[in-house]
Symmetry: C2
Amino acid sequence: MQDAGYTIQDMAERCGMTAHTLRYYERVGLIQPVGRARNGHRRYSEADEAWLHFLHCMRATNMPIREMQRYAELRELGDATSLERRKILEDHRTAIATQIVELQQAHALLTHKIANYKKIEQRIRIGGPMIAEPEPDCSLAPAS
Amino acid sequence: MQDAGYTIQDMAERCGMTAHTLRYYERVGLIQPVGRARNGHRRYSEADEAWLHFLHCMRATNMPIREMQRYAELRELGDATSLERRKILEDHRTAIATQIVELQQAHALLTHKIANYKKIEQRIRIGGPMIAEPEPDCSLAPAS
DNA sequence: CCTTGACTTTGAGTGCGCTCAAAGATGTAC
DNA sequence: GTACATCTTTGAGCGCACTCAAAGTCAAGG
């Protein structure tokens, strides 16, 4: 039996989620009840796949399930909800931009600290002076 | 009474955490038992602040508490643990880089979809043809 | 016929990271 | 002196997003 469409396992792999998560998303209304094969098994369409990819992308960037539910709900209502949906996406985009900045700052901080560790390791190897720089570890306080 | 140092409230504000969280971090060993005023209240030092800022930065970039605990533990053991600590930071830096890429991709996707919503709204305003583009909403499937 | 394996459902359980409640001590302001 | 704010402790509770357990159905293979 195949009845056209992807099985839940296929879809899970394609979208980088587990089958558990796919059923969960359906339960909480993130995706409309999915088509079934004659034996009752779920069969996912290409459209389902696109939507699930989108959901995955939003979750991967920390959009709360609640907000995704709201978006999915509006989506069911058609073009009339375009404005509100756009606002959700714009807000999320802003949140993403903020996250990127934080991550970039942390990245820079880590690069700095990693270099510092290399120095410490060098001193240890050559048996050099063990007088560490001010705060060998956790420094780079408030501002930096 | 002041006994030198920041109160827990001060420190919470300075580090962008709550007092609850500061106590929690102390409980779970992320920060060594903090100095006390004569009345038993915590008094945080500048060094505490630097360390807490670092912790905040790591948490804000999704380092698990577990890993922070491991790092804090090694830190107590001094320079001999430099290599292992560096590895932790390098791994986290890698994780951050990955996150940044994901976020950037999502950002681009959202920009695309937001533009699409603007088109839809335009069509609605001018009462134009309501034949939407293929998949007005969730498109931009797998690859894109 | 019997096993195997992929699926189904419902409801409960898990792990993380806080977050709060309750009861009590202390210092400052009126 | 008494109200008030701010802190203290311990242990429990919570929200989120899964994640799993149990019991059952179904189709194919040997």
